[in-house]
């Protein structure tokens, strides 16, 4: 009989069903994925500190020790989750819209931004919370996100500069300022998304206003009806 009966973990895992892969490596990959999946959901919904490893273990139908076998610490698991979440954030814009003129490219960039925000509101919410929360600059996450953001910004500055040279875009301000302004507006729409999804109807008119401001366009349809 054990000397210490503190541990009263119910551990009501489903041991039947789901025939595991036979090969050790496959089994390992399987369990690793399951853990990552469970951890992603829990971390995203409740944050880092409010999620315990035991919860992750239960959600993944796996023993807690196995998590520590796959990931050395809780932070390790968290980082793995983060990089997994960041993957869909990398888009290649240059290939997609090389043939369009500057104005169309700018509009397409705005579209992509808003579509992306709509489809990834959950993880964006998670990332923003994470970025706001941490103070440490050595995070890596902040750097990655900033890099992404700067890429988008650089693209915009370049496009706006060329559009200004072609006289299709407002020329009262330098391209950097216009791009910053546009990005600020998009970010504002983003946080509108994050806090109240029912404001999505306003996006159309917002885009219309952006077009009017940037290109002196009259009100018109600029986005696919899906938005």
């Amino acid at each position: 009989m054990p000397a210490d009966i503190k541990t009263t973990t119910a551990d009501a895992r489903i041991t039947a069903a789901e025939p595991r892969a036979s090969s050790p490596e496959l089994r390992a990959q399987d369990s690793r994925d399951e853990i990552l999946k469970a951890a992603t959901g829990l971390f995203a919904n409740r944050g880092f500190h409010e999620t315990s490893m035991s919860e992750v273990a239960k959600a993944a139908s796996v023993s807690k020790a196995l998590i520590f076998w796959h990931f050395k610490t809780k932070e390790d698991l968290f980082m793995a989750v983060l990089s997994g979440l960041l993957e869909p954030y990398f888009i290649d814009f240059t290939e997609e819209a090389g043939a369009l003129d500057e104005k169309a490219q700018i509009i397409r960039l705005i579209e992509l931004y808003l579509l992306f925000v709509r489809d990834n509101a959950g993880s964006i919410r998670f990332f923003v919370a994470q970025l706001l929360h941490d103070e440490r600059p050595s995070d890596g996450l902040a750097n990655q996100v900033m890099q992404l953001y700067d890429g988008y910004r650089t693209l915009l500055v370049d496009l706006i500069g060329r559009a200004q040279n072609n006289f299709v875009c407002i020329r009262d301000f330098p391209p950097q300022a216009v791009a910053s302004m546009l990005l600020a507006t998009l970010n504002g729409l983003l946080i509108g998304f994050l806090f109240a999804a029912d404001q999505a109807v306003q996006v159309e008119s917002a885009v219309s206003m952006i077009r009017q401001w940037l290109f002196h366009d009259g009100p018109q349809v600029g986005l696919p009806p899906s938005l």
Copy 2:
């Protein structure tokens, strides 16, 4: 000799200096304030779950038990901190700018927003993180903030509507849409503030662009040089 020597709290408080108030009530008020001050700093910098009551106690130079004498639970303390932080958010705009015309009032509102953001970036950061983090609608905090936000928005819609009637403001879109757009842009500038304070130089040109968009103003100085 005690049977349990787990508690090894160093408790290196400064017992000298700082002559406490003599009256019991004053002493109580004193310690309560000290606790609130310490808790505010810790909660704001590290969040709710990452801050322990022992840390608060040490930061306030007070025993942990005293905190629980003043505040029944940790949540209680947190709520007290929250309402304390929310206080400076209530401004009275109507008194201040009753004599200005609509355009000047709108510009003044934008100024107030940006000045406020600049001066309260820390607590705003805290609130946004908190709002992003919680899912529960019974929070109270979310309601308070939203109420504040809606007040500002209503004021803007009203002002813009009147400005449109006087033909001093763009009339291509309904006042609600224009106000939403303006708010989104301001919020975007806000999160620029939160993530990179060095972008503050852009605010001036941003305001200039907003003026151009709203009133077809040419580039000009719209904010006090302090911004």
